[in-house]
Symmetry: D2
Subunit: 149 residues, 4 copies
């Protein structure tokens, strides 16, 4: 599991005085930076060669997030496929799970213009970050919908 | 179905020279503005009272989007629940379906702090925008993942 | 003068229920797209070769902007230098001047890594968009500061 | 002087593979959070009552900023007026001054709808953060324009 700490900006709030829902995909993308590093050393020079593309995101909004308190994003590997990685992510503020999400990233070969197998050595490194299959946040949420601005 | 036209900004691009994946939730939120108007007349004065909160979003990235061409977002009602609405959205650029997504919005009673039934007259108006159940984009995508920046 | 119309998004608002001040630089950048086109035809393919870089921006916030009403950005050429262009921009909502700004863009030669002279034919085209020197918005604002979120 | 550390996100980059110029106003706003706290204790509850509004911003772009390295924003008080505060800010990456800016904030009385005097006790606290008048970054930049994406 990787941890990323984010300071909500004033401009991240919306008219409901909570963090706008559209900021979560940005924060979860920040939390996936360790994957970029696994595939592409020297990111500052080589970020354009980073071979992961986003195929799908899902975000569940579980509680309002406010200004003035850091948000911690926890990022886990949920599944390592042949050419894709499914990531599970959780955002906490003041100790409370406030959003969770999944992201499917595809390892892409830009020259061949198609998905490419994930190198075994990188898969091995990612396996150390596999989520505990009993993590209760992996379950779909119940029918009760909490608030999200 | 509602249509919204969006002009990609230079700052919407990322290092892959395509629209960054995190912009789609913003554009789909722009496409859901007609729901805000159904629930809250005079949005400019009353936006803080708008009673819809976002419980869940999903975005599937199907093709790269580029600078210099308008994007059209089409927004459909997929399901009207007792207290929630499921929305289906499609983003087209140069005639090509480039992203699709779902959003669950909950009708929320801020005083009672819980979900509230959707008023029948608003449900009636939304029914005119129900998606054709044969719309092929309702199906989950196939296993082949196309590119998304 | 060029005109660009922008629909404020819900996520453009901040906790003061007005458009967040940080959105104006994005909207003014949208308004400068005609300059990109003057220097780089076929922007969708060639945007990475667009040779204008931003050296300086200034924004004066004159009135609050709200949700639910389009914003019109008017973009003028203020000054054409040897290697730089100074742009004057105005944002109107409901007919009221709500923000104004300047931007200095430099014509840059990426190979030589230095500023490059503006081609005479492009300068000629830009001259058609020179601001009237009597435009009252060119003056520095008075000491009274109006509101900006 | 206050310091704020920012991790550039992948979505902060633009097609030039550098941090987009429009992100700087957001980062400088993050750097001004200590002012919010001076005027409004318990920001998480009371952010809507925070009485500072932005009247003007200026940003000078001095060097490209890249992915993969933290950015440090240094925030100084330049001038304390009767009702306004002028702030000077500097953004460093890898030890290099990459952008600098000014912001005029006005202390606003929302009920009276006009600017209000800055309370002496808050002015006193701010005075500890006054910029050294010999700080070389206070000078207007020279005529040579460096690159900014």
């Amino acid at each position: 599991m990787w941890k990323t700490t984010i300071r909500p900006a004033f401009s991240d709030l919306d008219a409901f005085v909570h963090v706008n829902n559209c900021r979560l995909p940005v924060w979860f993308e920040l939390g996936r930076e360790p994957f970029f590093e696994l595939f592409t050393p020297d990111l500052d020079e080589n970020i354009v060669n980073m071979p992961l593309i986003v195929a799908r995101i899902t975000v569940d909004y579980l509680a309002q997030m406010v200004f003035g308190h850091d948000v911690t994003v926890q990022t886990y590997v949920k599944k390592i496929g042949r050419t894709s990685i499914t990531v599970h992510q959780e955002a906490y503020q003041r100790g409370k799970l406030s959003a969770k999400g999944e992201c499917v990233m595809v390892h892409f070969d830009y020259d061949a213009e198609k998905a490419a197998p994930i190198p075994p050595d990188i898969a091995e490194k990612m396996r150390k970050h596999l989520i505990d299959p009993d993590n209760p946040n992996l379950k779909p949420r119940s029918g009760r919908f909490p608030a999200a601005g």
